[in-house]
């Protein structure tokens, strides 16, 4: 695994994992996928049943694709604003990312997630919080179910988070969250 710098400012930095099996780092790959119509159409076609719920208002594959495109664009804009230190809905990465588990006493706050911008967004970017303002993206997903354990593609993201923490520990990088 490699760690790739996405951007580094004075007090904020975003890094991304790059795994051997991919020729692109995870963060870049996520936004490539979320702007790839063929990828999105395939994904929502395969997971159409998850769209057929009261929560998502039984939206169609087409609507899901459009929604994802718009949401990804908005999220990317907000992150660009952080990079350029412009006025943003999220003034910092610390405000953009939240604890992975909403409430837990046992879980440390190393594992983090970032949502898309629209209401009920299914976009997720997963990261390890290295310290205040600094995050290491491990992956991301389009999460259509309540629990990450309910689908293979989201369950895989949990494994990536664990593997990344293990990698950092093996390289004697200690987090203080």
């Amino acid at each position: 695994m490699k760690i790739i710098s996405i951007f580094e400012n004075d007090d904020q930095a975003l890094f991304s994992c790059k795994y051997e099996e991919k020729d692109m780092n995870e963060f870049e790959w996520l936004f490539d996928c979320w702007n790839n119509i063929q990828y999105l159409e395939d994904f929502f076609n395969e997971n159409e049943m998850d769209l057929k719920s009261d929560f998502y208002n039984y939206i169609s594959v087409e609507t899901a694709v459009y929604q994802t495109l718009k949401d990804a664009q908005n999220l990317e804009d907000e992150i660009r604003n952080i990079v350029y230190e412009r006025k943003s809905k999220f003034p910092s990465l610390d405000r953009l990312f939240k604890n992975l588990y909403d409430s837990s006493i046992e879980e440390k706050y190393d594992k983090q997630k970032c949502y898309g911008i629209i209401d009920r967004s299914w976009l997720r970017v997963y990261a390890i919080k290295l310290e205040s303002g600094k995050f290491l993206v491990t992956g991301g997903a389009i999460k259509l179910t309540k629990s990450m354990n309910n689908r293979i593609h989201t369950k895989r993201e949990l494994k990536k988070l664990d593997n990344c923490l293990k990698y950092l520990k093996e390289n004697n990088i200690h987090l203080e969250n």
Binding site: N171, N172, I173, E176
Partner: protein, 145 residues
């Protein structure tokens, strides 16, 4: 993070650069035509899926390589009118149409102004609209003048 860990992290970070920011800027600068390209790609995808046409077959009918079709279907291609018409012909569907229910004359500028050349056209008219994919959402993508 302790200084020791920070230094170790610094050494771990690869010299390899990410292209994300460059791509993000491109997507931002070319938002409008990329959106239209996306809509066209989605319409093609939904049609060939429904009609059980393979991408290879579609490429063959279009007279291009499967790799080129792949590019088109990603929704990031700056399609020429010629290509759009060829796709429409290959699939027997309409992807875009000329707006017929809107005047091309800018109401703020009359023909005398054109003749006199005294006024600049300050807003654009709609020339094209994408044909709707389905009834219950995202029907027409017209920009208003």
């Amino acid at each position: 993070m302790k200084k020791e860990s920070k230094n170790k992290l610094k050494n771990l970070v690869s010299p390899e650069k990410s292209n994300w920011l460059e791509k993000a800027e491109f997507r931002n600068d070319n938002e409008e035509w990329l959106q239209k390209s996306s809509f066209i790609a989605l319409k093609i995808l939904r049609f060939i899926r429904k009609s059980k046409i393979s991408q290879k077959e579609f490429a063959r009918n279009l007279g291009v390589s499967p790799q080129q079709v792949n590019k088109i279907l990603k929704g990031n291609e700056n399609l020429t009118l010629k290509t759009i018409c060829q796709i429409e012909s290959a699939l027997g569907i309409e992807l875009i149409s000329i707006a017929t229910n809107e005047s091309f004359t800018n109401p703020k500028v009359n023909s005398d102004d054109f003749i006199n050349g005294s006024k600049e056209i300050s807003s654009r008219s709609v020339l094209f609209e994408l044909t709707p994919i389905e009834h219950n959402s995202c029907k027409t993508y017209k920009k208003t003048a």
